[in-house]
């Protein structure tokens, strides 16, 4: 089975079509928001994980999952979904590889976005 896409092209083209005529590009706005909002939340999640604050890990993973889902970042979404599930079961030790994967997957999404919006 193919690995899920870094950015799902169907979602990206859906977002591109949301821009009304003569208005600022919705896709660019959403992707920029994503780049602004996600890194501090990843930091928050990492800190919470180190501190063993399971509720905060859950909250951060949950909201990151939402952001990733909205731009079609499938692999990042999958990592967030697993973190969300694990934080519900309470086994924080099992989350170590996922916390690492979160940073890696975000890096990939970020370079893909910068390529898209010509940054």
């Amino acid at each position: 089975m193919d690995e899920p896409a870094i950015l799902d092209q169907a979602v990206i083209s859906g977002l591109r079509k949301l821009t009304p005529p003569g208005e600022p590009d919705v896709l660019a706005e959403v992707l920029k928001l994503f780049l602004e909002e996600v890194p501090p939340r990843i930091t928050r999640l990492r800190n919470a994980w180190q501190a063993g604050n399971i509720q905060e890990v859950h909250r951060a993973a949950h909201s990151l999952k939402g952001s990733a889902g909205n731009i079609g970042a499938r692999r990042l979404f999958e990592v967030c979904r697993q973190l969300d599930d694990i934080s519900k079961s309470g086994d924080l030790a099992a989350a170590a590889p996922l916390v690492d994967a979160l940073g890696v997957e975000f890096g990939k999404v970020e370079s893909e976005i910068r390529r898209l919006i010509g940054d």
Binding site: V26, H62, S63, G66, N70, I71
Partner: protein
């Protein structure tokens, strides 16, 4: 028909922006709230949005709590509430609907599904508003009918009516005050024969007698 205003309440800016853009593309005016507290302030105002899309998990007040507050308010046309949730287990959905949500959409929202569900909401809100208007006008009509259905004491001879203040009024006065009826005065053929004709004839006779006198 003026498009109904939609509130999008979500702490996540990405999700809020995407959902808002979908709604604006479909022609809905959109307002935003970044948390449950601000969402509640907008919903509790004098002119609340007709439809609200509420994120399930927000800091401060969560979606289901906001719904409970909306439902405890007694208003004629309550806001149609759709919960936005990334949870999709049926237990969570049941919990949301029990709290008083009208519908739910799982995140990330699919554009066509979101707009279809919002337009169902718009239909419900419009029906409810039309129904409330209808009930109000029927209640007014019923109040008028009631006013005319009471037992009226009427004088058997002069046909005056005794009003609530124990005062005898002319029929015309009574009905003008208690209904939308107003009167124009005329006479029926019977009364013409009984009253009008004799009066006219008496008048003619009097005039003829005067003429005779003057000539004589």
């Amino acid at each position: 028909m003026v498009p109904l205003q939609v509130l999008v309440a979500d702490d996540e800016a990405v999700s809020r922006t995407v959902v808002g853009a979908m709604l604006k593309k479909a022609g809905y005016p959109v307002i935003y709230a970044p948390d449950g507290q601000q969402a509640w302030q907008m919903l509790d105002s004098d002119d609340p949005p007709a439809i609200a899309l509420l994120d399930w998990e927000m800091p401060g007040l969560q979606g289901p709590e906001v719904v409970q507050r909306i439902r405890s308010k007694q208003v004629q046309a309550p806001t149609y509430v759709i919960l936005l949730t990334s949870r999709d287990s049926s237990a969570d959905i049941v919990e949301g609907l029990r709290a008083g949500a009208d519908d739910y959409v799982t995140k990330p929202a699919n554009e066509d599904e979101l707009i279809a569900r919002v337009s169902v909401g718009a239909r419900v809100v419009q029906l409810q508003t039309a129904l409330a208007d209808r009930v109000r006008s029927l209640e007014e009509a019923l109040a008028n009918v009631r006013a005319l259905q009471t037992l009226l004491p009427m004088c058997a001879y002069c046909k005056s009516i005794r009003n609530d203040q124990n005062y005898w009024e002319k029929v015309e006065t009574y009905f003008t005050q208690h209904s939308n009826v107003s009167f124009t005065h005329s006479y029926c053929p019977n009364c013409y024969e009984r009253f009008v004709r004799p009066e006219l004839e008496a008048l003619e006779d009097a005039r003829a007698a005067q003429d005779r006198q003057r000539r004589g």
